[in-house]
Amino acid sequence: MAENTKSLQVKEKRGPIPTAEQIHQGPTFTPEVDIFETDGSLVVVADMPGVKAENLDVDLRENILTLAGTVISPEGPDEVDIVKEYQTGTYFRQFTLSEMINQPEIDAKMTDGVLRLNLPKVKPVSPRKIKVKTV
């Protein structure tokens, strides 16, 4: 495949339409994700720069997958802003999953501000024939 040499475009960070009041202060942003499916699992890759593994919260209940990550503002207390092109805030996004997921086997990796979630699909139960015994 040819090398992808197009240049990256800058995008403003978008925030979600809040359905409930946020407990924390500060802006909330929607991280960009790639979702794709292989034969055995569903993979979710999310961009969350500045989020460390311990500040990340991944939750799956009732088929709703929630990604939440908090960022500590990196600026020191004495710093004066000259140029501010992006804001820092928490990341939050929810997805409804249609597939059945094997919950204990969910695997999450966080490197360089990118979260990679591997959600293995439940293997479909192969139909079992039930023998009928004649008494």
Partner: protein, 155 residues
């Protein structure tokens, strides 16, 4: 401003007043732009990836950029006089052909950005770290650019 003519209630525009209205409107719009809410719409005004925040302390400048998925080895930083250049490439994860994409929002590609700093910097002492997708560049100011206190003596 409409002036009611003394002869009757016929409104008349005075020439100067037309421009006064426009002048006032222009001042109102400029005042609106100063509010923080409007400032948010001017983010990414440079239109070049990546978006950066520059902050200043007495001794240093800090340039920060959010570059998720980019390791230190994918980045090239260089300084010439008071211009900082940030270049790099963001790779997309290679996936095999059997994957089916439900959603694809993350992009990959090259980026290059030159930033002019407000004062001279000491390029040899510049330091950059890239952690968790957040690039922080510490640029110490050159001695001539640091603010110097002037003591005021009373005679």
């Amino acid at each position: 401003m409409i002036i009611k003519n003394t002869l009757g209630n016929v409104p008349r525009w005075r020439w100067n007043d037309t421009f006064e209205e426009l002048e006032r409107m222009k001042q109102e719009m400029e005042r609106l732009y100063q509010y923080p809410a409007m400032k948010i719409f001017r983010e990414t005004a440079a239109g070049v990836f990546p978006a950066i925040n520059i902050t200043e302390e007495t001794d240093n400048y800090y340039v920060r950029a959010e570059l998720p998925g980019i390791k230190a080895s994918d980045l090239e930083l260089s300084i010439a006089n008071d211009t900082l250049t940030i270049e790099g490439k963001r790779k997309s994860d290679p996936e095999d052909e059997k994957t089916k994409y439900h959603r694809r929002e993350r992009e990959s590609g090259r980026f290059s950005r030159k930033i002019t700093l407000p004062a001279q910097i000491n390029a040899s002492k510049a330091d950059a770290t890239c952690n968790d997708g957040l690039l922080t560049i510490v640029l110490p100011k050159a001695e001539s650019a640091k603010p110097k206190k002037i003591t005021v003596t009373t005679l």
